[in-house]
């Protein structure tokens, strides 16, 4: 039994324990990068966004966190949040392999918030804004590529 089941969890708000697991997994999936001068997904504004967004899929999230914590107990004998940073990765691998759906719930939540952070978008060469109203530019491309196809005879099948 993991810490969430022990605390008789009510499946509403995220508990302190759950928040700690979520923070730990966010830092594990996307750690900070010196090379790209990027924060981790556990960085304060990004993690606040993750917590705020998590209200939309609470029941799936409770389950995913609980399953992850179970895997941590099975593989490493302790809860996920208590693990050292390096020992979280092998636990994560087992979790992804055996529980891909729950892993996807956590990964999606984390990347949804990480990749809309201003700093992250700018680092990718994007403007930190919504697509509308300004939109984007897409080049026309080389339409002469169509020349060989234009030379082809009609090949749709005649119908009786």
């Amino acid at each position: 039994m993991n810490i969430l089941q022990k605390s008789g969890h009510q499946f509403q708000q995220l508990s302190r324990e759950e928040t700690a697991i979520l923070h730990a997994i966010a830092e594990t999936v996307i750690p900070a990068s010196h090379q790209y001068d990027l924060p981790s997904a556990g960085d304060a504004p990004i993690f606040s966004d993750i917590l705020a967004t998590s209200t939309k899929s609470r029941s799936e999230l409770h389950t995913a966190l609980s399953v992850l914590d179970d895997v941590a107990y099975q593989v490493a004998g302790t809860g996920f949040a208590a693990l050292t940073v390096t020992s979280r990765l092998p636990v994560g691998e087992t979790f992804r392999k055996n529980h891909p759906q729950q892993a996807m719930v956590l990964e999606t939540l984390i990347v949804q918030c990480y990749y809309r952070d201003d700093r992250v978008m700018r680092s990718l060469g994007m403007e930190a804004r919504a697509p509308f109203p300004k939109g984007f530019v897409v080049e026309q491309g080389d339409w002469s590529l169509l020349d060989p196809v234009r030379k082809r005879n009609a090949f749709y099948r005649p119908a009786p």
């Binding site: 992804r96 809309r116 992250v120 978008m121 590529l145 009609a154 749709y156």
Partner: protein, 534 residues
Amino acid sequence: MTDEPIDVLIIGAGASGAAIAWSLVETRMRIVCLEQGGNMNPLDYPSAGRDWEARTSSDFSISPNARNLPSDYPVNDNDSPIKVANFNAVGGSTILYAGQFPRFHPSDFRVRSLDDVADDWPIDFATLEPFYAQNDHMMGVAGLAGDPANPPRPSIDMPPLPLGKAGQAVAKGFNSLGWHWWPSDCAIATRPFDGRERCVNLGTCVSGCAQGAKASTDITYWPHARRRGVELRTHCRVREITVDDQGMASGVIYFDSNGREQALKAHVIVLACNGIGTPRILLNSKSTTFPDGLANSSGLVGKNLMFHPYAAVQGVFDEELDGYRGPHKGIQSQEFYETDPSRGFVRGYTFEYSRGLGPVGTAVTGLSRNRIRWGEDHHDSYRKLFSRITSLVALCEDLPEEHNRVTLDPDLTDSNGIPAPKISYTFSDNSLKMLEHAVARGTEVLKAAGATDTFSISPIDFSGWHLMGTARMGTDPARSVVNEWGRSHDVKNLFIVDGSIFVTSAGVNPTSTIQALSLYIADQMKQRLANLFD
């Protein structure tokens, strides 16, 4: 509320309901459309906010079960490997559609004669051709005449969508193999059209076009139809069609925006609720005269459900492509469209290319395909994919099989207590062979285009966006639900105009054909007004 019957009652304000409402308005009949959803406000679309990608899995999900909005009804699709995708609002599923707008080929109407499978349609390509053209002008289509894979056309209203870097790469791949490709017909304005702005490459077509460039019917047909007098009542959900002693449809019972049960009488009823919503209403309309549901003496209401099985092949390139910029669609290939017995399956498929992915979409795809890793490697592995993925999706023709069907779920209901639809569907061997062929050929194209890595998803589960066949058209009342001009064989004042009436699915996106059929049926009704019920 007056008891005086209205002339024409249309149920559903999506692609087909909008088209028939507009076409019939010139008759000066009193036309009312009941729609369970509301009017959309483009400024509420995800693309106007920073959380635009996240909202595609919540209130703008393509799945009605995930959205679960008051306008949605649940669909039990547990017994189907393809999950249903739709949208319920004025504009219907065109609010979310990608706007790929091809026509059927002439051979698609003669499947039995040519390939000895399924059935021929009771109408042919030539019958629909003028209505395809009329519909293209109303919706506004961008494309290029001269495609050797399709019958010739004089011209197309707007120039094609840009090739972009991704389209160019894929086009080179097709060229190096000597295979066909062509700019897709797309219902997206590439220049101002009928009061609509041109596309500014938001890249969010399947979560609503805030720019108003994509032709959803709330901004194409509906403004014209309403201005000319069609009454559109929103947040009105029809439970059942009622019948009189003569076995004619007499009206409907529906729930209004306050959840109150209402009755509305009509001389003519038109169903336009799509391939799932329409059989659901018919099956819910049981009476002593029609104990198995309305218009169901053939027993075929709900049967022969066709989706289009889809496969996707994604290619990763070293150079930067279009990424999050630009409409999803742009070019297509019909190299493998017509039957070639040497391939081991009958009929065929269209390759559509799917331009690129947003930053979140890239991460989700990369993680699920094990191309992006957790931990320190995350950033480098992410950057190898960001703006460097483009895809080909294969849309495979699905053939009708009676065991693929819509029934009523014995337990599940919507928020008004109306029984919800249940889907039972399995892939045919023919479809599985076609999907396999498509993945192999799609991989070849992307490799020839320069992809350094490819991966595929086949079949795609959330691809039940084309809903067809569940109230098929035909001349024989024992083998079809409506006749060759859309009128029920059993109930002479009941018409169906959505994808339910398809006899076969062809290997292309259906909406231009659904709307052409709707306009054709409207035209038939106008020509027969004096003896419509004979």
